[in-house]
Amino acid sequence: MKTVIIKYNAGNVQSVMYALDRIGASYLYTDDEAEIRSADKVIFPGVGEASTTMSYLRNVGLDKVIPSLKQPVFGTCVGMQLMCRFSEENNTECMGIFDVDVKRFPASPGLKVPHMGWNNISGYQSPLTAGLPDNAYVYFVHSYAAPVCEYTVASCDYVLPFSAMLHKDNFYAAQFHCEISGNAGQQILENFLKL
């Protein structure tokens, strides 16, 4: 099986690679369109800011490649947000795979933004959550989130309920960091690679 991690100006993706190493999966880290198109599984990680990342993707044409992929694609964190329609982070037009807008967490007394730490997810409707305990805890670091929508397949609660995971056709996404979310995160990555 050929797994590709999409290379772009995302921040540090080293821990994603180590997480795949731990489950014994081999992968290619590349931005080459032919390599991406011929992969069995594609991981689109993300650490960073929406507008600079999106303009980078446009410059190299990945903004057209990613939505046209037919194999299972898994976007995480900012990767997930860029797969949505629009992000309030510097008012960024994104790839529009999921027809939902990413919004900043509203200011709320006693609730800090970013939402940082372990929170539980529920309402599983995804093959990626197979075998997970109810209310599994996963690790989040983000200030923007997609509200619960028709593509939500797991949700989380912080200030408001929001989409922890999205799914549409061959596109899967998680707002949290599977690679550092303990055994739950590892299970989700394994489930994706088994699709």
């Binding site: 180590y18 731990r22 730490g117 805890y137 670091v141 303990g182």
Partner: protein, 257 residues
Amino acid sequence: MLTKRIIPCLDVKDGRTVKGVNFVNLRDAGDAVELGAMYAAHGADELVYLDITATVDGRSTFIDLVRRVAQTINIPFTVGGGISSIADVSALLHAGADKVSINSAAVRNPDLINELSLEFGSQCIVVAIDTRYIETDNGLEHIVHTHGGRKATEIRSIPWAKEVEERGAGEILLTSMDTDGTKNGFALELTATISGNANIPVIASGGAGNMAHFYDVFTAGKADAGLAASIFHFREIDIPDLKEYLKNKDLPIRMTR
């Protein structure tokens, strides 16, 4: 619900943990990777590795250690100690650290906080504040200290905490040098003031001696996370017991057993 985090801190010198560690079931208690993996398996929510090596050789050993930790454990970890430049941070993040903690360098050059958060994102920049309540020209005040808490600055800790947030820190690691090592509990009032002012998470450190101290720092102290070293290393508190205790007192805690 977002949970309160329990964070063991490991001091590392030349790639090995230095505080006497008393775990009979470990093959090598000085092995910082093995110890971290054990804490992760016991339900630690994050780890902090502090490099207390002073030499250049020790530095590269530490980066090698960071790489091995990242390869091994599947929870987030922060690294700190002697970080003073974008290049230092870049090397540690590329080795696989999730966050870096800066202290003296931020005091010397506060712009470094802005530069690092722009370059790498706020989420991975932790500013450590070592504070001590001392006599000043204006009476007793909480004052920022550097050099492991030995050297007083002229900076007042409470406004400094707000400033580091405004400059782009993603988290504050607050150590009270007054309570550190006493085992009499965290500095609740100061932690509550700083955490109450902050819109970023505050990790409380210094003074944990029993499980009730963690309950206090999460409630009265308003902390988002509690950090301790020796009480975990010497097994005076086992993390699974601590989390069970806090959970039974209705705090939001990530249970792993």
